[in-house]
Amino acid sequence: MATIDFDNVQKSYGEVHAIRDFTLHVEDGDFCVFVGPSGCGKSTALKMLAGLEATSAGSISIGGRDVTELGPGKRDIAMVFQNYALYPHMSVRSNIGFGLKMRGQDKADINRRVEAAAETLELTSYLDRRPRALSGGQRQRVALGRAIVREPSAFLMDEPLSNLDAKLRVQTRSEIVNLQKRLGVTTIYVTHDQVEALTMASKIVVMRGGVIQQIGSPDTLFAEPANIFVAGFIGSPGMNFFRGPVEIENGRAQTRFGEQVVPLSVSPDRLPRGEAIFGIRPEHLKIGGETGGTPVSLGLVESLGTEKILHFPTPEGQAIHSLQKVIGSDDAARDSTTMLARVIDDRRYSDGEHVRVALPEGKVHVFDPETQKALS
């Protein structure tokens, strides 16, 4: 068990900077998730921590020991790979015990620990099989077994659930979290799936273009995103954005959303003059009511039983047409002219229905249109 520190780590391939100014402290026993779109550098950061990629600058410490120049085998870490990377020519028993064998443990001790790990992961009856005779979920557990049997200082996991089907993924997700809590081993977990990040992590590192965008707990990232990218990336569906005027009325700042005047909780002197970008989470929008808010016509209603996702057009003149550029090309699927509301009620909604949408005070996020940073 150990703390993990990245100190101003850089990684470049020739002229291309894959990781820039990566500084991070992970507490002992933390479950830290690196999340971001593909190509954001999260796997590179993990590989540098594992010693599988050299750093271009900066230092990495595990348990206070500088490991920057050490090989992967000398860092006292265990890693779970996306494709499991089980040795196909070895039995499950040899796969799990390989790391102990390489460290010169005696045979009896290896056997005892392999069997204990297999019991923890319910693999006892598969110990003498080859990996190809196992299902995806079982292979995944062997990969976990290989990691836990060594009792390392830290677990590193590189998208370990992405090869599983949706149902098994949810199940394995909770198994990993429970296992990590029971063992208390510091864990760094890489994923592109923000739902996985939010549900598993005690600390999330959101990355984009090789740069850390924000570090925080799932609640912090959800409630107080540092910039437009984090706001749009975290949450399912992501935050709605619109353009609006910044007005000062009796010393208080406000904006407009269609017909609705929305008071802002940000101090007026922190706001830009003229216009700003505003964000509201789909679950914070209030739908219905006879008065207040602004009238909209529902474009599409996606029903998941009691939960519904309502699509409606952004009020005229308030759509951000350059939204893809603002959020980043990875979120190109987002249509800037449509907003989403997530409601959980028994009411039936239909396409084309006219409803009133209101933005509650205190739930509206304000972003600087120049720097894209959150203003608070």
Binding site: K47, A50, G51, L52, G71, P72, G73, I77, A78, M79, F81, Q82, N83, A85, L86, Y87, P88, H89, F98, G99, M102, R103, R146
Partner: protein
């Protein structure tokens, strides 16, 4: 699956039988010639099987010629060539497959172009080099010369095989405490076993069937003759004992047929791997 028509089945069998017959006919002819009495060799029309097979030809050969020595020299050369080619080929192929080397692709192609040079073109410069190194007349000269032909192809064959092995396997081995060479030996090579078997067989067969290099570098050193050089000396200036030559050729071919039969499944697997990914 759709049932094949009788005509289709006949066509397939006819093709298979014709191909096998064409391939096996020279071997049959070797056996026939070896067992026929010397006086009947040029008989026309030829007999399909001699009335009086001369089985003693094999014993005569072993009694009159140092056949066992030739065989031993050939085995030494083939095994040494195989080990040398595989060692160099594995390391080169692994480096080309795994490391982003500056100019790596160009280097890979350059290695392949050396395969395109005919052996006869290389024999003169190789002779000059071996002469200055004092290797002419030594089995090492043949081993090294054959390796120059085998290594380029072995490298490319193995590179293709290594490319299909996910690098995460080595990463896992490194994290588990292996050194880079340890990861190669303990994880990559066992996984690449079919590719290695195919490459080893290729090297063994090429080396076993070499005549040019052995004839050029070993002629002056009688005790170092390989099978092919030895058999060639059975052809006299005025009289050629064809049934002895054929008996020797048959005995020379037996080990290679055995190796082929044993490694055939690996060879097919090794050569076709990588095509399905």
């Amino acid at each position: 699956m759709q049932k094949r028509s009788p005509l289709g089945t006949f066509g397939i069998y006819a093709t298979v039988i014709f191909t096998c017959a064409a391939l096996l006919f020279p071997i049959y002819w070797m056996i026939l010639t070896a067992l026929s009495p010397r006086t009947r060799l040029r008989e026309y029309p030829p007999r399909f099987w001699p009335d009086d097979p001369q089985w003693g030809v094999f014993a005569d050969l072993l009694a009159t010629q140092p056949f066992a020595l030739w065989m031993w020299n050939t085995i030494l050369v083939a095994v040494a060539t195989m080990i040398l080619s595989l060692t160099v080929g594995v390391l080169a192929a692994y480096a080309l497959s795994r490391h982003r080397l500056r100019g790596g692709q160009g280097l890979g192609l350059f290695i392949l172009t050396s395969k395109m040079l005919p052996a006869t073109l290389l024999v003169i410069p190789l002779f000059a080099i071996f002469k200055s190194l004092g290797l002419v007349g030594s089995l090492w000269s043949v081993v090294i010369a054959q390796a120059t032909l085998i290594v380029p192809f072995a490298t490319w064959m193995l590179k293709g095989y290594f490319d299909t092995i996910p690098p995460e396997l080595e990463h896992a081995a490194l994290v588990d405490g292996c050194s880079p060479l340890g990861a190669l030996v303990r994880v990559v090579l066992p996984v690449a076993a079919p590719g290695l078997a195919a490459t080893a067989l290729y090297a063994f067969v090429i080396s076993w069937s070499d005549f040019l290099y052995a004839r050029t570098f070993l002629t002056t050193s009688e005790s170092k003759w390989t099978l092919n050089v030895g058999i060639a000396t059975l052809k006299g200036e005025f009289v050629t004992d064809w049934n002895t030559i054929m008996a020797a050729s048959l005995m020379a071919a037996v080990p290679i047929i055995g190796v082929y039969l044993f490694l055939e499944r690996y060879l097919v697997g090794g050569l076709s791997s990588g095509s399905d990914k």
